[in-house]
């Protein structure tokens, strides 16, 4: 059972899946790092993005890898609008209210998808879905390789944006010291919304990378978002490198526990890690403090 012929591909596949998780988790950790709330609507937005990717393939004939350039800006706008015109005004600046508002949005989006498209599971057919490349000792699926590379490209872009642009500096300033940033002339409401938009755009990119080999239904985002919560908690809330490393780790753990325990119990393994981390070290492996 423990032969390297099974183990090594499982680990590699785990790393590749982990990269997609990283994208979902990046959005979540970014929003947490700046707004200091957990966005419970993240999973529902992922489901919505998967539907958008599905329909841009079915109706417009857009390959998901092309559609990403349309959907990422679109979801940025959706995220920006949600935060600026709904979450911000509705929560009156109270954290507990903000949690409830994102939960409310999640429930609305998820069930609107259920209402519109029913619970059917849909998939798309792209020619490269099952193509693999031989890396010597094992075969790797091409869509997953693309996802892996893209995830790191997005992380790098985000890092560049945060480090070298004015918007990035403003975001970091708001994250560190909201009042001080406001006094320095930064429009905090706008920066909150930009951050939320960026987080939502990450979800759209993740959706486009997932759809070639995955399926979509109204509840599909839930599974991912709980994994993403785990990653974000594991890596330290708000930490971008933490999210990346946490995601790869969780991908490998899921792949291995799926191998030894079976699919549905493999997920429990992740939740148990999640709960254990929350209880023992809520600041995460890389976070400074809770």
């Amino acid at each position: 059972m423990l032969s390297s012929a099974i183990l090594i591909p499982a680990v590699l596949n785990g790393l590749l899946i982990g990269a997609i998780y990283a994208l979902v988790a990046l959005g979540l950790t970014l929003i947490y790092g700046v707004l200091h709330i957990i966005n419970f609507a993240h999973g529902a937005l992922l489901s919505a993005a998967l539907f958008a990717a599905f329909f841009s393939f079915r109706l417009l004939g857009l390959d998901p890898y092309v559609a990403v350039f349309l959907l990422a800006p679109m979801f940025f706008v959706i995220g920006y609008t949600l935060q600026r015109f709904i979450i911000g005004p509705a929560s009156h600046g109270d954290d507990r209210n903000m949690l409830l508002v994102t939960l409310g949005i999640a429930v609305v989006v998820e069930n609107a998808l259920l209402y519109a498209f029913r619970a059917d599971t849909r998939t798309i057919d792209v020619p490269y879905a099952f193509q693999t490349i031989d890396v010597g000792w094992t075969f790797l699926a091409i869509p997953r390789m693309v996802g892996f590379v893209a995830a790191f490209a997005v992380a790098l872009t985000l890092w560049l944006l945060m480090t070298f642009t004015d918007v990035g500096r403003a975001i970091r300033a708001v994250a560190k010291e909201k009042l001080g940033a406001e006094l320095a002339g930064i429009d905090v409401g706008h920066i909150y919304a930009v951050t939320f938009g960026l987080g939502t755009a990450c979800v759209a990119i993740a959706a486009c990378l997932l759809i070639p080999t995955y399926y979509v239904n109204p509840h599909v985002g839930d599974a991912f978002v709980l994994v993403a919560f785990t990653i974000v908690v594991l890596g330290g809330m708000g930490s971008v490198p933490g999210a990346l490393i946490g995601a790869l780790l969780v991908g490998v753990v899921e792949s291995l526990s799926g191998l030894f325990l079976g699919e549905s119990l493999g997920q429990i393994g992740i939740f148990l890690i999640f709960i254990a981390v929350l209880l023992v070290r809520p600041s995460g492996l890389f976070g400074a403090r809770a």
């Binding site: 209210n97 929350l278 809520p282």
Partner: protein, 331 residues
């Protein structure tokens, strides 16, 4: 004792309903609304008075429902004993969960997240474990009689759930009036300040969690007896977690009658939507989610809280600061 008079009046009025309303559809509607009110009152003790927002109260609802159903069907235990055991099991689970989470200092977002995750873990376990009937669920055999806690008439079920709601209302009222209730509110308003004044915040939250779990579990036990079926999606699904927090938030968070009022509104909206648009999956939850956002936006204290606040403003007494007013002033 004087403070219990409004509860007695409301219960008396509600108890008379089956004498006037004979429609089974209407009674069924009220039974479900009262069941949700009961689950919501459980959430309200911990979330409303204690400020600990749980996003996974299904943990307690589902545990109550499963324990009741499994004890009867697999071990042949009397339904009433099963009911009590369900409540006790959920209370014990609440104590364990509370001890774990509060001791590691989880608050706010983290608490919401960990409760959500616990509900999800239990849902997955219940959907594969043989004892819960895995994906098939657990059916309770139809066997009418007082001994089996199964009644032919809806009215009997109605009075049972009304009695349970009555107990929960009295509990909330007694807590509100007690020293424990004051500690709980102090922890909600400012945990660090409460601690500095000598309140054992963790113990207070833990006690609130146990009471909260027991009340919400009673709703779950009742669900099992009323519908005679439990599966993992029903027991540990988001529908009940959302409704448990939605009802007190709409009616008035941290108020005695908030959950009851909220449940009647929520259920009326859900049924109204079904009348207008047909019984489509997800429709009621779309409305619940939208109402949740709108209530927080325009009436963050809920209906009762908003009215009480307006009255205090009108009579020009000093208005005590609640979290939302503090935040509004600050930001």
């Amino acid at each position: 004792m004087k403070s219990l008079i409004p509860i007695a009046v409301v219960l008396a009025i509600l108890a008379a309903v089956p004498f006037v309303v004979h429609s089974n559809v209407m009674l069924n509607f009220l039974v479900v609304a009262l069941m949700i009110a009961l689950a919501g009152q459980g959430w309200n003790i911990l979330g409303g008075y204690g400020g600990q927002y749980s996003f996974g109260h299904a943990v307690f609802f589902g545990t109550g429902a499963y324990v009741t159903a499994i004890l009867q069907m697999r071990y042949g235990i009397n339904a009433w004993v099963g009911f009590a055991a369900g409540v006790a099991a959920a209370a014990a689970l609440g104590a364990a969960l509370g001890a774990l989470t509060f001791r590691s200092g989880l608050r706010g977002s983290y608490f919401a997240l960990v409760t959500l995750a616990f509900a999800e873990v239990l849902r997955i376990i219940a959907s594969v474990a043989p004892i819960t009937g895995a994906g098939v669920g657990t059916l309770i055999k139809l066997d009418l009689g007082i001994r089996t806690f199964q009644f032919q008439s809806r009215a009997a079920f109605y009075w049972v759930i009304l009695a349970l709601v009555g107990v929960s209302l009295v509990t909330a009222q007694l807590i509100e009036r007690s020293r424990f209730g004051v500690w709980l509110v102090a922890v909600r308003e400012n945990e660090d300040a409460a601690k500095a004044l000598g309140v054992d915040a963790n113990k207070v939250k833990l006690a609130a969690m146990v009471i909260s779990a027991a009340i919400t579990a009673a709703a779950g036990c009742f669900y099992a007896q009323y519908f005679l079926f439990v599966d993992s999606g029903i027991a540990y699904g988001t529908w009940i977690s959302v409704q448990a927090l939605l009802t007190p938030i709409i009616g008035g968070v941290g108020t005695v009658f908030g959950p009851l009022l909220g449940a009647l509104i929520v259920k009326s909206l859900g049924e109204g939507a079904k009348l207008v648009a047909g019984d489509a999956p997800g429709l009621d939850l779309i409305i619940y989610g939208a109402v949740l956002v709108l209530v927080i936006w325009f009436a963050p204290r809920g209906l009762i809280g908003g009215l009480a606040h307006a009255r205090r403003l009108l009579t020009r007494h000093d208005v005590p600061a609640t979290p939302s007013t503090q935040e509004a002033r600050r930001g």
